[in-house]
Subunit: 197 residues, 2 copies
Amino acid sequence: MLPSSLDELIEALRCLPSVGPKSAQRMAYHLLQRDQRGAARLGQALAHALEVLRHCERCNTFSEETICQRCANPRRDASLLCVVEMPADLAMIEQTQSYSGLYYVLMGRLSPLDGVGPRELRLDKLIARAHDGKVQEVILATNFTNEGEATAHTVASLLTARGLKVSRLSRGVPVGGELEHTDTGTIAQALVERRTV
Amino acid sequence: MLPSSLDELIEALRCLPSVGPKSAQRMAYHLLQRDQRGAARLGQALAHALEVLRHCERCNTFSEETICQRCANPRRDASLLCVVEMPADLAMIEQTQSYSGLYYVLMGRLSPLDGVGPRELRLDKLIARAHDGKVQEVILATNFTNEGEATAHTVASLLTARGLKVSRLSRGVPVGGELEHTDTGTIAQALVERRTV
């Protein structure tokens, strides 16, 4: 009953996380009726991001370069490697201004129920990265949720088996909490109190 | 700190209704990390919809043609014109399969606080449409919210002043509804609008 281009837009909007048919319809009407400029901008931003964004070959976060600026910065401490789940977690740690090492962004977490195992998470890339000869300590900063803890546990066993020092953020972070929603003071404290595992 | 193309995508996603900075970031990561195909499809759907969708010259709903299929259908009763706020409302009335007249879609409602007055809502277009010489009765089917009621009231005065018959959807207890679970305002209205049987 709807024009096919409108139908297709509503259907396409459903690829957004937690957007169902009603929300998608509301979004489509809003874009077409109230914010055509925003809609055009969004379409262009999507196309551009898909075109230019890749994963940094060293830290795996989104980057427009082969090696992101952070990894290429010689003033960062290359002996420390902090493993986080998502770029948002990296951003939170950077905001504490209490860490000057490098990062590895998993872009997810182990989640067997969703079919994300060590292979899907490409833990082999992390292991290769951690064995560049410069990294002395790997700091696990995955979330303190069940999945984040399981991820940390798995990564820890893989790395300690290969002789690397591995630490975990201290439990200053509330159990069950997520880094993205934790205050920076708590995260800073957890960095200072990290414990060897 | 983020690549500019990622920043721009997150910013652009905020044009979606009720999407704040955190949701926009989550959406961007989801699209780039988990659903690049969906992202590409969304970008194309936006561009295509913006290109081909216009408003039907008769009923004002979204259409790829100058006159939409419904308005062009000679089997619809051209003496009845049903006024709704949004295409979703039109779809609900069509689903009842109990109306065979035509529609006019306001694409909004009067909302003085948001700066939407009779001029912004282009009520002049509705008035012109209602005076095509064929329309005998205008049925107001705006929502029964404060804004929808105000819109109906304004449209009614404009049209009756020009000699057209104007009606409004009846208010009352929902079909299948139990008095015990109906709000008192609705029951009071159902009493006022009681019909002789």
